[in-house]
Symmetry: C2
DNA sequence: ACCTGAACACCGTTCAAGT
DNA sequence: ACCTGAACACCGTTCAAGT
Protein backbone atom coordinates (compact mmCIF):
# COMPACT_ATOMS: atom_id res chain seq x y z
CA UNK A 1 0.00 0.00 0.00
CA UNK A 2 2.73 2.57 0.79
CA UNK A 3 4.43 1.66 -2.47
CA UNK A 4 1.19 2.13 -4.39
CA UNK A 5 0.43 5.47 -2.76
CA UNK A 6 3.92 6.83 -3.36
CA UNK A 7 4.62 5.64 -6.87
CA UNK A 8 1.41 4.36 -8.40
CA UNK A 9 0.08 1.16 -9.90
CA UNK A 10 2.78 0.86 -12.54
CA UNK A 11 5.44 0.79 -9.85
CA UNK A 12 3.60 -1.99 -8.07
CA UNK A 13 5.47 -4.83 -9.73
CA UNK A 14 5.91 -8.24 -8.19
CA UNK A 15 9.61 -7.47 -7.97
CA UNK A 16 9.16 -4.15 -6.16
CA UNK A 17 6.61 -5.60 -3.75
CA UNK A 18 8.90 -8.52 -3.01
CA UNK A 19 11.82 -6.16 -2.46
CA UNK A 20 9.70 -4.11 -0.05
CA UNK A 21 9.03 -7.34 1.84
CA UNK A 22 12.67 -8.35 1.81
CA UNK A 23 12.27 -11.37 -0.40
CA UNK A 24 12.24 -12.44 -4.05
CA UNK A 25 9.40 -12.17 -6.56
CA UNK A 26 8.81 -15.91 -6.74
CA UNK A 27 7.95 -16.03 -3.04
CA UNK A 28 4.80 -13.98 -3.60
CA UNK A 29 3.29 -16.82 -5.58
CA UNK A 30 2.98 -18.82 -2.37
CA UNK A 31 0.32 -16.29 -1.33
CA UNK A 32 -1.41 -15.14 -4.52
CA UNK A 33 -2.09 -16.93 -7.79
CA UNK A 34 -1.45 -13.93 -10.04
CA UNK A 35 -0.55 -10.31 -9.73
CA UNK A 36 -4.24 -9.63 -10.40
CA UNK A 37 -5.11 -11.35 -7.10
CA UNK A 38 -2.79 -9.09 -5.19
CA UNK A 39 -4.18 -5.95 -6.78
CA UNK A 40 -7.79 -7.08 -6.21
CA UNK A 41 -7.08 -7.64 -2.52
CA UNK A 42 -5.49 -4.22 -2.26
CA UNK A 43 -8.49 -2.66 -4.01
CA UNK A 44 -11.01 -4.23 -1.64
CA UNK A 45 -8.88 -3.13 1.29
CA UNK A 46 -9.14 0.43 -0.04
CA UNK A 47 -12.88 0.23 -0.72
CA UNK A 48 -13.15 -0.74 2.95
CA UNK A 49 -12.03 2.77 3.87
CA UNK A 50 -15.36 4.05 2.63
CA UNK A 51 -17.83 5.09 5.32
CA UNK A 52 -21.34 4.78 3.97
CA UNK A 53 -23.38 7.93 4.66
CA UNK A 54 -25.98 6.55 7.09
CA UNK A 55 -29.16 4.54 6.82
CA UNK A 56 -31.18 4.85 3.59
CA UNK A 57 -33.56 7.77 3.96
CA UNK A 58 -36.27 8.10 1.32
CA UNK A 59 -36.45 11.87 1.80
CA UNK A 60 -32.74 12.41 1.29
CA UNK A 61 -31.87 9.67 -1.20
CA UNK A 62 -30.49 12.01 -3.85
CA UNK A 63 -28.18 13.71 -1.38
CA UNK A 64 -27.12 10.31 0.00
CA UNK A 65 -26.21 9.07 -3.47
CA UNK A 66 -24.20 12.22 -4.10
CA UNK A 67 -22.42 12.02 -0.76
CA UNK A 68 -21.56 8.39 -1.45
CA UNK A 69 -20.10 9.38 -4.81
CA UNK A 70 -18.08 12.21 -3.27
CA UNK A 71 -16.60 9.97 -0.60
CA UNK A 72 -15.74 7.26 -3.11
CA UNK A 73 -13.98 9.75 -5.32
CA UNK A 74 -12.06 11.13 -2.33
CA UNK A 75 -10.84 7.70 -1.31
CA UNK A 76 -9.68 6.75 -4.78
CA UNK A 77 -7.98 10.13 -4.95
CA UNK A 78 -5.94 9.23 -1.91
CA UNK A 79 -4.57 6.06 -3.44
CA UNK A 80 -2.83 7.00 -6.66
CA UNK A 81 -4.30 5.23 -9.68
CA UNK A 82 -5.52 2.08 -7.92
CA UNK A 83 -8.96 2.81 -9.35
CA UNK A 84 -7.60 1.76 -12.73
CA UNK A 85 -7.76 -1.80 -11.45
CA UNK A 86 -11.47 -1.47 -10.76
CA UNK A 87 -12.53 -0.28 -14.20
CA UNK A 88 -14.34 -2.95 -16.11
CA UNK A 89 -14.61 -5.43 -13.33
CA UNK A 90 -17.49 -5.99 -10.97
CA UNK A 91 -15.60 -5.80 -7.68
CA UNK A 92 -16.61 -8.86 -5.70
CA UNK A 93 -14.77 -8.41 -2.43
CA UNK A 94 -16.66 -8.21 0.85
CA UNK A 95 -16.31 -4.46 1.16
CA UNK A 96 -17.43 -3.92 -2.42
CA UNK A 97 -20.53 -6.03 -1.87
CA UNK A 98 -21.49 -4.03 1.19
CA UNK A 99 -21.11 -0.88 -0.81
CA UNK A 100 -23.40 -2.13 -3.59
CA UNK A 101 -25.90 -3.43 -1.05
CA UNK A 102 -26.10 0.01 0.52
CA UNK A 103 -26.38 1.93 -2.75
CA UNK A 104 -29.12 -0.36 -4.03
CA UNK A 105 -31.18 0.10 -0.90
CA UNK A 106 -30.82 3.88 -1.02
CA UNK A 107 -32.11 3.92 -4.59
CA UNK A 108 -34.99 1.61 -3.73
CA UNK A 109 -35.83 3.76 -0.72
CA UNK A 110 -36.00 6.69 -3.13
CA UNK A 111 -38.74 4.98 -5.07
CA UNK A 112 -36.57 4.01 -8.02
CA UNK A 113 -37.70 0.81 -9.75
CA UNK A 114 -35.58 -2.32 -9.18
CA UNK A 115 -34.43 -2.34 -12.78
CA UNK A 116 -33.40 1.30 -12.75
CA UNK A 117 -31.73 0.79 -9.37
CA UNK A 118 -29.70 -2.13 -10.74
CA UNK A 119 -28.60 -0.26 -13.83
CA UNK A 120 -28.24 2.94 -11.82
CA UNK A 121 -25.61 1.32 -9.62
CA UNK A 122 -23.75 0.37 -12.78
CA UNK A 123 -23.72 3.82 -14.26
CA UNK A 124 -22.90 5.56 -10.97
CA UNK A 125 -20.00 3.17 -10.47
CA UNK A 126 -18.86 3.78 -14.01
CA UNK A 127 -18.98 7.54 -13.49
CA UNK A 128 -17.12 7.47 -10.20
CA UNK A 129 -14.36 5.13 -11.31
CA UNK A 130 -13.87 6.70 -14.72
CA UNK A 131 -13.70 10.20 -13.22
CA UNK A 132 -11.36 9.12 -10.45
CA UNK A 133 -9.14 7.41 -12.99
CA UNK A 134 -8.94 10.49 -15.20
CA UNK A 135 -8.12 12.60 -12.19
CA UNK A 136 -5.47 10.18 -11.01
CA UNK A 137 -3.65 10.64 -14.29
CA UNK A 138 -3.45 14.38 -13.61
CA UNK A 139 -1.74 13.76 -10.30
CA UNK A 140 1.07 11.82 -11.85
CA UNK A 141 4.38 13.57 -11.40
CA UNK A 142 7.55 12.54 -13.11
CA UNK A 143 10.64 13.58 -11.23
CA UNK A 144 14.09 12.38 -12.16
CA UNK A 145 13.00 9.12 -13.68
CA UNK A 146 10.89 8.39 -10.62
CA UNK A 147 7.15 8.68 -10.64
CA UNK A 148 5.35 10.31 -7.75
CA UNK A 149 1.78 10.89 -6.76
CA UNK A 150 0.62 14.02 -5.11
CA UNK A 151 -2.92 15.19 -4.74
CA UNK A 152 -2.28 18.51 -3.13
CA UNK A 153 0.33 20.29 -5.18
CA UNK A 154 -2.30 21.28 -7.69
CA UNK A 155 -2.38 24.72 -6.19
CA UNK A 156 -4.81 27.27 -7.66
CA UNK A 157 -2.04 29.18 -9.39
CA UNK A 158 -0.87 26.15 -11.30
CA UNK A 159 -4.41 25.21 -12.27
CA UNK A 160 -5.21 28.71 -13.50
CA UNK A 161 -2.01 28.80 -15.54
CA UNK A 162 -2.76 25.42 -17.07
CA UNK A 163 -6.32 26.39 -17.97
CA UNK A 164 -5.11 29.60 -19.53
CA UNK A 165 -2.66 27.64 -21.63
CA UNK A 166 -5.37 25.29 -22.87
CA UNK A 167 -7.69 28.24 -23.56
CA UNK A 168 -5.01 29.90 -25.64
CA UNK A 169 -4.58 26.69 -27.57
CA UNK A 170 -8.31 26.50 -28.31
CA UNK A 171 -8.37 30.14 -29.34
CA UNK A 172 -5.60 29.72 -31.88
CA UNK A 173 -7.30 26.83 -33.67
CA UNK A 174 -8.43 27.68 -37.23
CA UNK A 175 -11.77 29.43 -36.72
CA UNK A 176 -13.10 28.39 -40.12
CA UNK A 177 -12.78 24.69 -39.31
CA UNK A 178 -13.64 24.83 -35.62
CA UNK A 179 -15.83 27.90 -35.04
CA UNK A 180 -17.65 26.50 -32.02
CA UNK A 181 -14.51 25.18 -30.36
CA UNK A 182 -12.83 28.56 -30.72
CA UNK A 183 -15.81 30.53 -29.44
CA UNK A 184 -16.28 28.14 -26.52
CA UNK A 185 -12.66 28.27 -25.37
CA UNK A 186 -13.87 29.98 -22.20
CA UNK A 187 -16.49 27.50 -20.99
CA UNK A 188 -14.35 24.57 -22.11
CA UNK A 189 -11.60 25.61 -19.72
CA UNK A 190 -13.79 26.72 -16.85
CA UNK A 191 -14.19 24.77 -13.64
CA UNK A 192 -11.92 22.68 -11.50
CA UNK A 193 -12.21 18.94 -10.95
CA UNK A 194 -14.64 19.41 -8.05
CA UNK A 195 -17.06 21.50 -10.08
CA UNK A 196 -16.93 19.10 -12.99
CA UNK A 197 -17.51 16.14 -10.75
CA UNK A 198 -20.51 17.84 -9.13
CA UNK A 199 -21.93 18.69 -12.52
CA UNK A 200 -21.78 15.09 -13.72
CA UNK A 201 -23.25 13.88 -10.47
CA UNK A 202 -26.12 16.33 -10.78
CA UNK A 203 -26.80 15.19 -14.36
CA UNK A 204 -26.83 11.53 -13.35
CA UNK A 205 -28.99 11.95 -10.26
CA UNK A 206 -31.47 14.13 -12.15
CA UNK A 207 -31.61 11.57 -14.94
CA UNK A 208 -32.25 8.73 -12.49
CA UNK A 209 -34.75 10.81 -10.50
CA UNK A 210 -36.65 11.59 -13.69
CA UNK A 211 -37.70 7.94 -13.83
CA UNK A 212 -39.45 8.22 -10.46
CA UNK A 213 -43.08 9.28 -10.68
CA UNK A 214 -43.63 12.13 -8.24
CA UNK A 215 -45.73 10.95 -5.27
CA UNK A 216 -48.90 12.96 -4.57
CA UNK A 217 -47.96 15.79 -2.28
CA UNK A 218 -49.63 15.57 1.12
CA UNK A 219 -52.15 18.34 1.83
CA UNK A 220 -50.37 19.28 5.05
CA UNK A 221 -46.88 18.09 5.65
CA UNK A 222 -45.85 17.30 9.25
CA UNK B 1 -4.35 -1.85 -37.28
CA UNK B 2 -4.87 -5.50 -38.27
CA UNK B 3 -2.65 -6.54 -35.38
CA UNK B 4 -4.66 -4.38 -32.96
CA UNK B 5 -7.99 -5.71 -34.22
CA UNK B 6 -6.90 -9.33 -34.05
CA UNK B 7 -5.03 -9.41 -30.77
CA UNK B 8 -5.72 -6.20 -28.90
CA UNK B 9 -3.75 -3.32 -27.45
CA UNK B 10 -1.52 -5.46 -25.25
CA UNK B 11 -0.28 -7.34 -28.30
CA UNK B 12 0.57 -4.06 -29.99
CA UNK B 13 4.15 -3.93 -28.81
CA UNK B 14 6.89 -2.12 -30.64
CA UNK B 15 8.45 -5.49 -31.34
CA UNK B 16 5.31 -7.03 -32.82
CA UNK B 17 4.58 -3.96 -34.94
CA UNK B 18 8.15 -3.96 -36.21
CA UNK B 19 7.92 -7.66 -37.02
CA UNK B 20 4.68 -7.06 -38.94
CA UNK B 21 6.57 -4.43 -40.94
CA UNK B 22 9.55 -6.71 -41.52
CA UNK B 23 12.01 -4.72 -39.47
CA UNK B 24 13.37 -4.31 -35.96
CA UNK B 25 11.83 -2.40 -33.03
CA UNK B 26 14.48 0.33 -33.06
CA UNK B 27 13.51 1.33 -36.60
CA UNK B 28 10.11 2.54 -35.44
CA UNK B 29 11.76 5.33 -33.48
CA UNK B 30 12.69 7.00 -36.75
CA UNK B 31 8.95 7.65 -37.21
CA UNK B 32 7.50 8.11 -33.73
CA UNK B 33 8.97 9.51 -30.54
CA UNK B 34 7.30 7.03 -28.17
CA UNK B 35 4.91 4.14 -28.35
CA UNK B 36 2.30 6.62 -27.12
CA UNK B 37 2.65 8.58 -30.37
CA UNK B 38 1.97 5.51 -32.42
CA UNK B 39 -1.12 4.59 -30.42
CA UNK B 40 -2.45 8.18 -30.53
CA UNK B 41 -2.13 8.22 -34.32
CA UNK B 42 -3.93 4.89 -34.55
CA UNK B 43 -6.69 6.20 -32.29
CA UNK B 44 -7.29 9.33 -34.34
CA UNK B 45 -7.31 7.19 -37.48
CA UNK B 46 -10.10 5.13 -35.87
CA UNK B 47 -12.06 8.17 -34.67
CA UNK B 48 -12.00 9.22 -38.32
CA UNK B 49 -14.25 6.27 -39.13
CA UNK B 50 -17.06 8.03 -37.33
CA UNK B 51 -19.76 9.54 -39.54
CA UNK B 52 -21.39 12.41 -37.70
CA UNK B 53 -25.20 12.17 -37.86
CA UNK B 54 -26.00 15.22 -39.99
CA UNK B 55 -26.27 18.94 -39.39
CA UNK B 56 -27.24 20.12 -35.88
CA UNK B 57 -31.01 20.24 -35.67
CA UNK B 58 -32.50 22.03 -32.67
CA UNK B 59 -35.66 19.91 -32.82
CA UNK B 60 -33.80 16.59 -32.83
CA UNK B 61 -30.76 17.38 -30.70
CA UNK B 62 -31.40 14.69 -28.11
CA UNK B 63 -31.73 12.00 -30.77
CA UNK B 64 -28.63 13.32 -32.53
CA UNK B 65 -26.59 13.11 -29.35
CA UNK B 66 -27.79 9.56 -28.80
CA UNK B 67 -27.06 8.52 -32.35
CA UNK B 68 -23.58 10.00 -32.07
CA UNK B 69 -23.00 7.99 -28.90
CA UNK B 70 -24.26 4.78 -30.51
CA UNK B 71 -22.01 5.19 -33.53
CA UNK B 72 -18.97 5.98 -31.38
CA UNK B 73 -19.57 2.90 -29.29
CA UNK B 74 -19.97 0.76 -32.40
CA UNK B 75 -16.67 1.96 -33.86
CA UNK B 76 -14.73 1.37 -30.67
CA UNK B 77 -16.35 -2.05 -30.50
CA UNK B 78 -14.88 -2.90 -33.88
CA UNK B 79 -11.33 -2.17 -32.78
CA UNK B 80 -10.56 -4.34 -29.80
CA UNK B 81 -9.60 -2.32 -26.72
CA UNK B 82 -8.10 0.70 -28.51
CA UNK B 83 -10.51 2.85 -26.55
CA UNK B 84 -8.38 2.17 -23.48
CA UNK B 85 -5.85 4.56 -24.98
CA UNK B 86 -8.42 7.33 -25.10
CA UNK B 87 -9.49 7.21 -21.46
CA UNK B 88 -8.17 10.11 -19.51
CA UNK B 89 -6.77 12.05 -22.40
CA UNK B 90 -8.39 14.84 -24.34
CA UNK B 91 -7.91 13.47 -27.85
CA UNK B 92 -6.37 16.27 -29.88
CA UNK B 93 -6.13 14.77 -33.33
CA UNK B 94 -7.89 16.41 -36.27
CA UNK B 95 -10.68 13.87 -36.36
CA UNK B 96 -11.26 14.15 -32.62
CA UNK B 97 -11.51 17.94 -32.85
CA UNK B 98 -14.11 17.71 -35.59
CA UNK B 99 -16.08 15.33 -33.44
CA UNK B 100 -16.05 17.69 -30.46
CA UNK B 101 -16.90 20.65 -32.68
CA UNK B 102 -19.97 18.83 -33.96
CA UNK B 103 -21.15 17.66 -30.55
CA UNK B 104 -20.79 21.12 -29.04
CA UNK B 105 -22.84 22.70 -31.80
CA UNK B 106 -25.60 20.10 -31.44
CA UNK B 107 -25.87 20.84 -27.73
CA UNK B 108 -25.88 24.59 -28.32
CA UNK B 109 -28.52 24.15 -31.02
CA UNK B 110 -30.57 22.33 -28.40
CA UNK B 111 -30.57 25.40 -26.20
CA UNK B 112 -28.08 24.05 -23.69
CA UNK B 113 -25.97 26.75 -22.04
CA UNK B 114 -22.33 27.04 -23.15
CA UNK B 115 -21.11 25.89 -19.76
CA UNK B 116 -23.37 22.84 -19.69
CA UNK B 117 -22.47 22.09 -23.31
CA UNK B 118 -18.76 22.16 -22.47
CA UNK B 119 -19.13 19.93 -19.45
CA UNK B 120 -21.73 17.84 -21.25
CA UNK B 121 -19.20 16.92 -23.93
CA UNK B 122 -16.89 15.79 -21.15
CA UNK B 123 -19.39 13.56 -19.45
CA UNK B 124 -20.75 12.09 -22.68
CA UNK B 125 -17.22 11.28 -23.80
CA UNK B 126 -16.49 9.77 -20.42
CA UNK B 127 -19.60 7.60 -20.63
CA UNK B 128 -18.94 6.41 -24.17
CA UNK B 129 -15.28 5.58 -23.65
CA UNK B 130 -15.72 3.98 -20.24
CA UNK B 131 -18.60 1.83 -21.49
CA UNK B 132 -16.75 0.85 -24.65
CA UNK B 133 -13.73 -0.05 -22.59
CA UNK B 134 -15.71 -2.24 -20.22
CA UNK B 135 -17.33 -3.97 -23.16
CA UNK B 136 -14.01 -4.50 -24.89
CA UNK B 137 -12.82 -6.45 -21.88
CA UNK B 138 -15.73 -8.84 -22.31
CA UNK B 139 -14.70 -9.58 -25.87
CA UNK B 140 -11.28 -10.73 -24.88
CA UNK B 141 -10.77 -14.38 -25.68
CA UNK B 142 -7.82 -16.39 -24.56
CA UNK B 143 -7.05 -19.30 -26.83
CA UNK B 144 -3.91 -21.39 -26.52
CA UNK B 145 -1.77 -18.65 -25.06
CA UNK B 146 -2.90 -16.32 -27.80
CA UNK B 147 -5.38 -13.54 -27.19
CA UNK B 148 -8.15 -12.91 -29.67
CA UNK B 149 -10.86 -10.34 -30.07
CA UNK B 150 -14.26 -11.21 -31.33
CA UNK B 151 -17.35 -9.09 -31.06
CA UNK B 152 -19.82 -11.53 -32.47
CA UNK B 153 -19.37 -14.83 -30.69
CA UNK B 154 -21.34 -13.49 -27.76
CA UNK B 155 -24.36 -15.43 -28.99
CA UNK B 156 -27.61 -15.15 -27.00
CA UNK B 157 -27.22 -18.64 -25.57
CA UNK B 158 -23.82 -17.87 -24.08
CA UNK B 159 -25.03 -14.56 -22.68
CA UNK B 160 -28.10 -16.15 -21.09
CA UNK B 161 -25.97 -18.90 -19.56
CA UNK B 162 -23.54 -16.35 -18.18
CA UNK B 163 -26.27 -14.18 -16.71
CA UNK B 164 -27.87 -17.23 -15.10
CA UNK B 165 -24.55 -18.13 -13.54
CA UNK B 166 -24.13 -14.64 -12.07
CA UNK B 167 -27.74 -14.64 -10.87
CA UNK B 168 -27.16 -17.94 -9.07
CA UNK B 169 -24.08 -16.46 -7.46
CA UNK B 170 -26.05 -13.44 -6.20
CA UNK B 171 -28.82 -15.69 -4.91
CA UNK B 172 -26.47 -17.81 -2.84
CA UNK B 173 -24.94 -14.84 -1.03
CA UNK B 174 -25.75 -14.72 2.71
CA UNK B 175 -29.21 -13.10 2.83
CA UNK B 176 -28.67 -11.65 6.30
CA UNK B 177 -25.68 -9.62 5.18
CA UNK B 178 -26.83 -8.75 1.67
CA UNK B 179 -30.65 -8.83 1.65
CA UNK B 180 -31.07 -6.33 -1.18
CA UNK B 181 -28.42 -7.89 -3.36
CA UNK B 182 -30.02 -11.30 -3.00
CA UNK B 183 -33.54 -10.06 -3.68
CA UNK B 184 -32.35 -8.01 -6.65
CA UNK B 185 -30.48 -10.88 -8.32
CA UNK B 186 -33.02 -10.73 -11.15
CA UNK B 187 -32.79 -7.05 -12.15
CA UNK B 188 -29.04 -7.05 -11.57
CA UNK B 189 -28.57 -9.67 -14.26
CA UNK B 190 -31.18 -8.39 -16.69
CA UNK B 191 -30.34 -6.68 -19.94
CA UNK B 192 -27.63 -7.05 -22.55
CA UNK B 193 -24.95 -4.49 -23.31
CA UNK B 194 -27.19 -2.66 -25.78
CA UNK B 195 -29.98 -2.15 -23.26
CA UNK B 196 -27.59 -1.02 -20.57
CA UNK B 197 -25.93 1.42 -22.93
CA UNK B 198 -29.28 2.87 -23.97
CA UNK B 199 -30.30 3.23 -20.35
CA UNK B 200 -27.21 5.20 -19.45
CA UNK B 201 -27.60 7.35 -22.53
CA UNK B 202 -31.19 8.10 -21.60
CA UNK B 203 -30.16 9.06 -18.07
CA UNK B 204 -27.44 11.40 -19.32
CA UNK B 205 -29.51 13.06 -22.01
CA UNK B 206 -32.43 13.56 -19.61
CA UNK B 207 -30.08 15.03 -17.05
CA UNK B 208 -28.60 17.44 -19.57
CA UNK B 209 -32.01 18.30 -21.01
CA UNK B 210 -33.29 19.09 -17.52
CA UNK B 211 -31.00 22.13 -17.50
CA UNK B 212 -32.75 23.59 -20.53
CA UNK B 213 -35.69 25.82 -19.66
CA UNK B 214 -38.64 24.69 -21.75
CA UNK B 215 -39.43 27.33 -24.41
CA UNK B 216 -42.99 28.65 -24.37
CA UNK B 217 -45.05 26.37 -26.54
CA UNK B 218 -46.49 28.16 -29.55
CA UNK B 219 -50.26 28.60 -29.47
CA UNK B 220 -50.71 26.85 -32.80
CA UNK B 221 -47.89 24.80 -34.18
CA UNK B 222 -47.76 24.61 -37.95
C1' DA C 1 16.93 11.34 -43.12
C1' DC C 2 16.25 6.75 -42.24
C1' DC C 3 17.58 2.23 -40.62
C1' DT C 4 20.12 -1.45 -37.93
C1' DG C 5 22.14 -4.80 -34.19
C1' DA C 6 23.11 -5.03 -29.82
C1' DA C 7 22.46 -3.80 -25.44
C1' DC C 8 20.23 -1.84 -21.01
C1' DA C 9 17.14 -2.14 -17.47
C1' DC C 10 13.25 -3.93 -16.70
C1' DC C 11 8.60 -7.23 -16.65
C1' DG C 12 5.20 -11.71 -14.87
C1' DT C 13 5.51 -16.36 -14.19
C1' DT C 14 7.43 -21.18 -13.78
C1' DC C 15 9.92 -24.78 -11.79
C1' DA C 16 13.03 -27.80 -9.55
C1' DA C 17 14.96 -27.75 -5.26
C1' DG C 18 15.02 -26.75 -0.68
C1' DT C 19 13.01 -26.20 4.59
C1' DA D 1 2.92 -25.31 3.53
C1' DC D 2 6.05 -21.92 2.47
C1' DC D 3 10.20 -20.11 0.38
C1' DT D 4 14.22 -19.71 -2.90
C1' DG D 5 17.55 -18.98 -7.10
C1' DA D 6 17.66 -19.28 -11.57
C1' DA D 7 15.69 -19.17 -15.72
C1' DC D 8 12.16 -18.26 -19.62
C1' DA D 9 10.06 -15.38 -22.69
C1' DC D 10 9.08 -11.18 -23.00
C1' DC D 11 8.94 -5.49 -22.62
C1' DG D 12 10.21 0.06 -24.21
C1' DT D 13 13.98 2.66 -25.28
C1' DT D 14 18.86 4.10 -26.33
C1' DC D 15 22.89 4.44 -28.90
C1' DA D 16 26.80 3.96 -31.79
C1' DA D 17 27.27 2.68 -36.27
C1' DG D 18 25.88 2.32 -40.73
C1' DT D 19 23.46 3.95 -45.65
Amino acid sequence: LPLLDAEGLDALTMRRVAEELGTGPASLYAHVAHKEDLVAALLDRIIGELELPGEPDSKRWQEQVKEFARRSRAIYGRHADIVRASIGSIPSGDNALHMIEWLLSVLLAGGVSPQVAAWGVDILGLYITATAYEESLEELQHAGGEVHWSRHDRDPTTLAAFQEEVRDWFETLPADRYPTLVSMAGPLTTGDDDERFEFGLEVLVRGIASTVSEPRRKRRSR
